[in-house]
C-alpha cells in the first residue's frame, strides 16, 4: 500500500493489508463509510469545542478517543491510508491527554482542530473518488511533534518500536541450577519435557498476542519451565516471529503440536524431546521464567453515550425515498379523484370505500412525509466551530447559543438552508458583534452573544439568528441604497424601520466595497433571500441600534405536499398555500376605495390593497366591479393584500410539482399541481405576486 503524498518516512507504520479486492468491493461500502465517518468527525468537532471549555473533562477525551479509534478502524479497512494515519496520530495525542501526560492548551486545540479539518478534506477527496489526494503530511507532523514533546517531557521513548532490541530466539537454552532441579523432578514424575520452537506467521498483526495464546494453551496442559525471549519481551513484541519454550507436560508430543496449531497464524512448530543428558550441555546464565503476562488495567470507562442516531436506523438512498414520496403523491391525486367520484355516486358502498381510502391515504401520506423529516441539527452542528473560528480570526469574543436543534424539517429544505445561515452568522460576527473594547464602552458584557434558534410555528419552522451587537444603521443603509440606485430619494423618505432594514435583501445592495474575508465576497443578503424564497419561505429582519439584530427565516415544514386554498380566476384554477391565506371574504363594490389609483378596502381599520388575480398574472382585468367579488386576504411576511378572484373553491391537499426548468422562474408562480380532474393548476407564490 503506497501513499506517496503523505508518508512519514521517519516513522514505521504498522503493516496493513487491504481487504482482498476479490472478496469485498470497496465501493459497496463507500457511501456508508462516508456517512458514518462524517458523524464521527462531527462528534470530534463537538467534543473538542466543549473540551476547550472543560479541558479536565475526561469523558469528552474518552469520547473523542473512541471516535478517532473507530475512524481509524474503518479507514484502514477501506485502505484510506491518510485518514488512518491521521486518526492514528490523533489517537496517540488523545491517549496522552487521557493519561494526563498532556493538558489541552490553546495550541494543542488548534493542532487538533487542524487535524479535523485535514480529516474533512480527506473525506471530501474520498467522496470525489480521489484516494489520498490531499497531503496530510504537515498535520501529521504537527500531531506527532505535539506527541513527542509531551513524551520527551515524560522521559518516554516516543514510539515503542517493534524492531528495537529484538532477540533471535535460536540461542541454546541456559538454565539456572534450580531449573535443572525442576526438570529432573519432572522426569521423576514421568512427565515429558519438550523444547518447542513456535513460529508465528509473518503477517500476523498482533504476534505478541498470538504468542500469549500459545503460552496460555500450553499452560492448560503442563508447565512452562522456560520461555525465550522472556514472556515480558514477548509481550512487548521484542521477538522476531519465533520463540522457544521448555515445556513440561504429561501429554504426547503430537497433542502438544496440535494444540498449538489450533491457534491461528501459527506458521510452524518444531518439537524436540529433551532427555536428561541434553540438559547439561547448555551454558550458564539467562532468563528465568517469571510467571504470566501482566494484566494491564483496562482504561475504558464504559459510561458515556455516543450522540448518534445510528443505532436502530436504516440508511436508505434518498432517491428511493423520493420515489416513494412521488408514488404517494400520485396516490393522493387519485384518491382525490376517487373521493369526488364517490360523492357523485349513488352507490353507498363506493362512497364508503372511497372515504376509507381517503383516510388510509392520509395516514400513509403523513407517515411517508415523516420519513423525509430530519433534525436541523445536521446543519446547526457545524456552526459552533465556524463561529469560534470566525471570532478568533477577527479578534472578537463570541459565544454561539443553539436552541431547538432537534426541530425537524424536510430534508431537501435542510440541505439548502445551510448556506443562507452561514451567511447570516458570518454577518452577525463580522458586522453585528463589536470588538471587546467597543462592547465594554457600550456597557455590554465583553462576550458577544449570538443565538441560533429553530422552533415550530404552525406549519412553518422559524429559524432565528439573533445577535446582541451594534444593530443596523438606518441612515447608512438608506445612503447606500441610494448610492446603489436601489431606491429613489422620494421612496427613501417614506421608508422607516423594518422597511429600511429589508433593503439589505435587495439585489445589488451588498457590493465589493465591503469585501472582507468574512462577509461580502460578492454574495449578499439578496442571495439569502433568494434561497429562502425558492423554498417558499419568508425572511424578516428586526434591529435595534446598539442592542442587536434579529433575522427570522420562516420555512414550510415540507415541500412536497401542502394544504392550499383553490380559487378560480379567468377560467383557470389556482392553489394558494394556506400559510399565505389569512381569510376569505366577499367584498361589496361599495366597500372598495381608490387611493392613488390603487383599489383598497378597509378591513378592521387596516387598509389593504386589492389585486385582481387575473390582472396581476396576465395583465387583463376582467372583473365585474358592480357586484360582490370573492377575495382572499393573503400575507407574505409583513405584506398583506386582497386577491380578487372569480370563485372560492375550498381547501385541499395538493402535491407540489416543479415546473420544467425550460420555463425558468415565473414571477408569482411557485409550482404546479394536478387536480382531481386531471388538469394542471398553478400554485401561487404570494411573496412574488404583485
Amino acid at each position: 500500500m503506497s501513499c506517496g503524498s503523505c508518508c512519514l518516512s521517519k516513522r514505521q507504520w504498522p503493516e496493513i493489508q487491504l481487504i482482498g479486492g476479490a472478496a469485498v468491493d470497496i465501493n459497496e461500502y463507500r457511501d456508508i463509510f462516508l456517512a458514518e465517518s462524517r458523524e464521527y468527525l462531527q462528534n470530534l468537532n463537538d467534543s473538542l469545542l466543549r473540551l476547550e471549555k472543560e479541558p479536565e473533562n475526561l469523558e469528552l477525551i474518552q469520547q473523542m478517543f473512541r471516535s478517532a479509534h473507530s475512524l481509524k478502524g474503518m479507514s484502514a479497512t477501506m485502505g484510506y491510508d491518510c485518514v488512518m494515519k491521521l486518526t492514528h496520530e490523533m489517537e496517540n495525542l488523545l491517549q496522552l491527554l487521557r493519561d494526563g501526560s498532556l493538558c489541552l492548551s490553546k495550541e494543542l486545540a488548534d493542532v487538533l482542530f487542524s487535524s479535523l479539518d485535514a480529516l474533512e478534506a480527506q473525506l471530501a477527496s474520498v467522496e470525489n473518488g480521489e484516494k489520498d489526494a490531499v497531503s496530510v503530511l504537515p498535520v501529521l507532523e504537527k500531531l506527532s511533534a505535539a506527541c513527542s514533546s509531551a513524551q520527551a517531557a515524560k522521559g518516554l521513548p516516543h514510539f515503542a518500536g517493534n524492531n528495537g532490541e529484538s532477540r533471535l530466539a535460536s540461542e541454546p537454552f541456559a538454565l539456572e541450577e534450580f531449573e535443572k532441579v525442576i526438570i529432573r523432578e519432572a522426569f521423576a514424575l514421568g512427565d515429558n519435557v519438550y523444547w518447542l520452537e513456535v513460529n508465528i506467521s509473518k503477517d500476523s498483526l498482533l504476534k505478541s498476542v498470538r504468542a500469549y495464546m500459545v503460552i496460555k494453551a500450553l499452560e492448560e496442559h503442563g508447565t512452562l519451565l522456560k520461555v525465550k525471549p522472556s514472556i515480558s519481551e514477548l509481550e512487548e513484541d521484542k521477538f522476531d516471529h519465533a520463540f522457544h519454550v521448555l515445556y513440561q507436560t504429561a501429554v504426547s508430543e503430537k497433542e502438544v503440536v496440535s494444540k498449538i496449531y489450533d491457534i491461528l497464524e501459527i506458521e510452524r512448530v518444531r518439537v524436540e524431546k529433551i532427555n536428561e543428558s541434553q540438559l547439561f550441555t547448555a551454558g550458564a546464565g539467562g532468563d528465568i521464567v517469571t510467571g504470566s503476562f501482566r494484566t494491564i488495567p483496562q482504561v475504558e470507562t464504559p459510561s458515556s453515550t455516543r450522540v448518534s442516531l445510528l443505532d436502530k436506523t436504516v440508511r436508505v438512498d434518498t432517491s428511493k425515498l423520493d420515489t416513494l414520496i412521488n408514488l404517494v403523491g400520485e396516490l393522493v391525486i387519485n384518491r382525490t379523484r376517487l373521493v369526488e367520484l364517490g360523492r357523485q355516486s349513488s352507490d353507498l358502498g363506493i362512497a364508503e370505500a372511497a372515504e376509507q381510502l381517503d383516510r388510509i391515504t392520509s395516514d400513509l401520506q403523513s407517515a411517508v412525509m415523516k420519513l423525509r423529516m430530519v433534525p436541523i441539527k445536521q446543519v446547526f452542528d457545524r456552526f459552533p466551530r465556524m463561529v469560534r473560528d470566525l471570532g478568533k480570526d477577527m479578534g472578537k469574543n463570541v459565544r454561539l447559543e443553539i436552541v431547538g436543534d432537534t426541530t425537524e424539517l424536510d430534508r431537501s429544505i435542510v440541505n439548502q438552508i445551510g448556506e443562507p445561515l452561514v451567511h447570516l452568522l458570518r454577518n452577525a460576527v463580522d458586522h453585528g458583534i463589536e470588538t471587546e473594547e467597543e462592547r465594554k464602552k457600550a456597557g455590554k458584557s465583553p462576550e458577544g452573544h449570538i443565538r441560533l434558534e429553530a422552533r415550530h410555528e404552525g406549519s412553518y419552522v422559524a429559524i432565528e439568528v439573533k445577535d446582541d451587537g451594534r444593530g443596523l444603521n438606518e441612515e447608512l443603509i438608506i445612503e447606500k441604497a441610494l448610492r446603489q440606485k436601489i431606491i429613489t430619494r422620494e421612496e427613501a423618505e417614506k421608508k422607516k424601520g423594518a422597511a429600511v432594514y429589508s433593503l439589505i435583501f435587495e439585489n445589488g445592495f451588498s457590493t465589493a466595497e465591503e469585501v472582507t474575508d468574512i462577509s461580502g465576497r460578492g454574495v449578499g443578503m439578496d442571495a439569502v433571500k433568494k434561497i429562502v424564497e425558492k423554498l417558499n419561505g419568508l425572511i424578516d429582519i428586526q434591529s435595534t441600534p446598539g442592542k442587536g439584530t434579529n433575522i427570522t427565516i420562516r420555512l414550510p415544514l415540507t415541500l412536497a405536499i401542502i394544504k392550499a386554498l383553490l380559487v378560480t380566476a379567468g377560467g383557470e384554477t389556482y392553489a394558494i398555500p394556506v400559510e399565505n391565506v389569512s381569510e376569505n371574504l366577499y367584498i361589496h363594490a361599495d366597500d372598495i376605495h381608490d387611493i392613488y389609483r390603487q383599489k383598497v378596502i378597509s378591513l378592521r381599520n387596516e387598509v389593504i390593497p386589492l389585486v385582481p388575480l387575473e390582472k396581476s398574472l396576465f395583465g387583463r382585468d376582467n372583473l365585474q366591479w358592480d357586484c360582490e367579488v370573492p377575495a382572499v386576504i393573503v400575507t407574505a411576511g409583513e405584506k398583506k393584500a386582497g386577491l380578487l378572484v372569480d370563485q372560492l373553491l375550498g381547501q385541499q391537499e395538493i402535491v407540489i410539482k416543479a415546473l420544467s426548468s425550460m420555463l425558468g422562474k415565473i414571477k408569482g408562480i411557485a409550482g404546479a399541481t394536478i387536480l382531481g380532474n386531471g388538469r394542471v393548476a398553478l400554485i401561487l407564490n404570494v411573496a412574488t405576486l404583485t
Partner: protein, 163 residues
Amino acid sequence: MSELAKKQGLQVVVFRLSNEEFAIDIQQLREVLKYVDITRLPQTSHFIEGVINLRGDVIPVIDLRKRFGICEGTIDARTRIIIVEITDQLLGLVVDQVSEVLYFSGDQIQDPPKGIIGDKSRFIRGIGKKDNRLIIILSPDMVISSEEKVELRELLPEQEAVA
C-alpha cells in the same frame, strides 16, 4: 444535418402547420397526444401555451403556430400535441395535424438553407426532399431555448419562399 444522418438516413414524423409540412426526428419523439386543455402560464413567452398533465408530470407546451408567427388556427379533431424529449425533459408542441412517418435516405436530406433573410438555420436540422415534397426537419430544442422571433417564411427553403 449530422454526417451520420446523411449516411444512414433519418426517420421522421411529419406534421402540418398551416399549409406547410414539418418533421422531427423520430428519436426525439416520445408520443403524440390528442389536444387536451392547457393551463395558461403567466409572464412567459407568447408562444408558450401553458402546461399539461402527462401522467402526473407537468410539462410545458408550445404552440408552434404562434412560435413561427402563423395566424392562429382553430383547434379541431386533428389538432395534436407532439411530446418531444429534449435533454431529459419533455416538451409538448401543438401542431395542426400529424400525418405520417417518413424515411429519408441520406441523399434526400439537405443542409438548412443559408443566406436567407436573418439566418434562422439554427432552428432547422435539415430539409427533406421526397417526391416533390419539401419537408422542414425542425430542431425542437431551439424552439424553446431561444427567445428569438422567427417567422415561418424565414424557415422555408428559398425556392419555395420565392414560389
